[in-house]
């Protein structure tokens, strides 16, 4: 599902983003990527979204060779990748329903299907009663649930989450993790970048630890090679 082979990425002035990273995530996996600030987690995420190009090495996503994706082909690869950010990135000039429907509209899903899919997602994240609300009227946890619904509405094969609980308290973070686990149980491969070690330990899933741009450990169940 995700394969990185000896991937390195160096920013200008020789600042190393990641160095010689190899990684293999199977279909249906749930993987945490942890590490201190500057360990390369965000660079890894940006490479998987092709916001950045690797300096060397190969990246495959969902069978596509990402290095060679063009402006024309990239949108179709991204349609099968859902993304969740720490700061939710909801559009505040439209309602909860419209935020989720927006993701379907931009990939030109027929209107009758949009309604069906959005309602299904709202029901999954438990926000059916708030479909008319403006994101500003919601709590942080609710906003993140809307963001997850938006990321999942196009039925992606992979869900990439960048610090999804970074702005949330512990209880809300657990709720968000339950939602991600639910998506995973339904077949979506989930990769979560986080520094919330409590959550990582609670979830007891495969955990990759990064430091100074390198993978220093890849543990099958909840093992951590660094302490916060």
């Amino acid at each position: 599902m995700i394969r990185m082979e000896n991937v390195s990425m160096t920013y200008a002035k020789d600042i190393v983003g990641i160095s010689n990273v190899s990684l293999h995530v199977e279909k249906g996996d749930f993987v945490f990527v942890v590490g201190k600030s500057g360990s390369g987690k965000s660079t890894l995420m940006k490479l998987l979204l092709k916001e950045l190009d690797p300096t060397s090495g190969k990246i495959y996503i969902n069978g596509h060779f990402l290095n060679e994706a063009t402006r024309r082909t990239l949108p179709y690869i991204r349609r099968k990748i859902g993304v969740v950010f720490q700061d939710f990135r909801l559009l505040e000039d439209r309602s909860v329903y419209e935020n989720i429907a927006f993701a379907q509209k931009v990939i030109e899903t027929p209107s009758d299907q949009i309604k069906k899919n959005v309602l299904k997602m709202l029901s999954m994240v438990g926000l059916l009663d708030k479909y008319k609300s403006n994101p500003k009227e919601l709590s942080g946890g609710e906003q993140q649930r809307v963001a997850i619904a938006r990321a999942l509405v196009n039925s992606p094969d992979i869900l990439l989450c960048d610090e999804p609980t970074g702005n949330l308290d512990i209880v809300t973070s657990e709720e968000i993790m339950k939602l991600l686990k639910l998506a995973n149980d339904q077949g979506t491969t989930v990769l979560v970048v986080t520094h919330n070690l409590d959550i990582v330990q609670q979830m007891n899933m495969r955990t990759i630890t990064m430091s100074e741009g390198k993978i220093i450990s890849d543990m099958a169940k909840g093992g951590l090679a660094y302490e916060d």
Binding site: L49, R72, P75, L91, V106, N154
Partner: protein, 302 residues
């Protein structure tokens, strides 16, 4: 792109205009000013050219023939000259006509002076063709051609007038083209800035669109709609103003300065606007599309 999506893009385009009202109005005003000036220049240049064309058509090259040239030879020369593309028309002046014109011009009031010639026409060998041109600049080449024709004795030309008219027409064309190009560049620059502002305001939305897999065409379309609509509105407003101004100014000049009638021959309103309307609308559309293109090329990457 699906029809459903096209409707969405058009709505988004209009929403963008509404969201950036102030800048949209500023862009429309700038394009309107540019197209207005373009229209004024176009009206002036087309009228000037129309007058020049008329003046050019008054320029004649006079062709004299060998003595006792047979009529069939004259017809042959006339046919050859008429066939030239730069020739507007050819008029024949017979020796009798030439002599009669001469008497009228020089012996007026002293007709007795001509009586000495009786039936003897002193201009018997002065039959001529007056060859009128449709482009003054072509005179030199035509004269060379006619001089080479068999049976032609002499060709009189008016170099100075032809040269001045051709230079004048070219100068006006160059100045107008330069001013118009500068104005259009300013318009494109301003509309680019308006679209950039729209992109900046919608940066988050664009980035989300790209993350969920919107194609470039889908992301860019509303901005093209915005640019094109601004361009079209910006060109339609001055066209209406120019239409009424032109109509009234021409009729005012001809009505109040009757002396102008003989000197200036204005193009009818319909003749000016049959070209100005489509050209201005296409220009407005192109300025809008080009402005959007430059703005998107620089700022829509995520």
């Amino acid at each position: 792109m699906k029809i459903n999506s096209a409707g969405y893009q058009i709505r988004q385009g209009f929403k963008n205009i509404h969201r950036n009202k102030l800048f949209s109005v500023a862009s429309i005003a700038t394009i309107a000013a540019c197209i207005f000036l373009f229209g004024v220049f176009y009206s002036m240049v087309s009228n000037f050219q129309y007058m020049m064309d008329n003046a050019e058509k008054q320029i004649a090259v006079t062709v004299y023939f060998d003595a006792n040239i047979p009529e069939s030879k004259l017809d042959d020369i006339e046919d050859k000259i008429s066939a030239r593309s730069e020739v507007d028309r050819v008029e024949y002046t017979s020796p009798e006509q030439a002599w009669s014109d001469f008497q009228r011009q020089y012996f007026e009031g002293k007709e007795y002076l001509a009586e000495g010639f009786k039936d003897d026409n002193p201009l018997a060998n002065s039959g001529s063709f007056s060859v009128y041109l449709n482009k003054a600049a072509a005179q030199e080449g035509l004269v060379t051609y006619i001089e080479g024709l068999d049976g032609v004795r002499q060709v009189n030309k008016n170099n100075e007038v032809a040269k001045n008219i051709a230079t004048g027409a070219r100068l006006v064309e160059y100045v107008a083209a330069a001013v118009i190009i500068i104005l259009l560049a300013v318009a494109v620059f301003l509309i680019t800035n308006t679209i950039v502002l729209g992109i900046t305001v919608r940066k988050d939305e664009i980035s989300i669109m790209k993350y969920v897999g919107a194609t470039d065409a889908f992301v860019d379309a509303p901005f093209f709609v915005e640019g094109i609509v601004i361009g079209l509105i910006g060109s339609a407003i001055p066209l209406v103003v120019l239409f009424f101004l032109y109509k009234h100014i021409v009729s005012y000049i001809l009505g109040h300065f009757s002396v102008m009638k003989g000197i200036f021959d204005f193009l009818p309103t319909a003749n000016v606007f049959v070209v100005l309307i489509p050209v201005s609308l296409i220009l407005g559309l192109a300025i809008g599309a080009l402005g959007s293109f430059f703005a998107l090329r620089k700022h829509s990457n995520v």
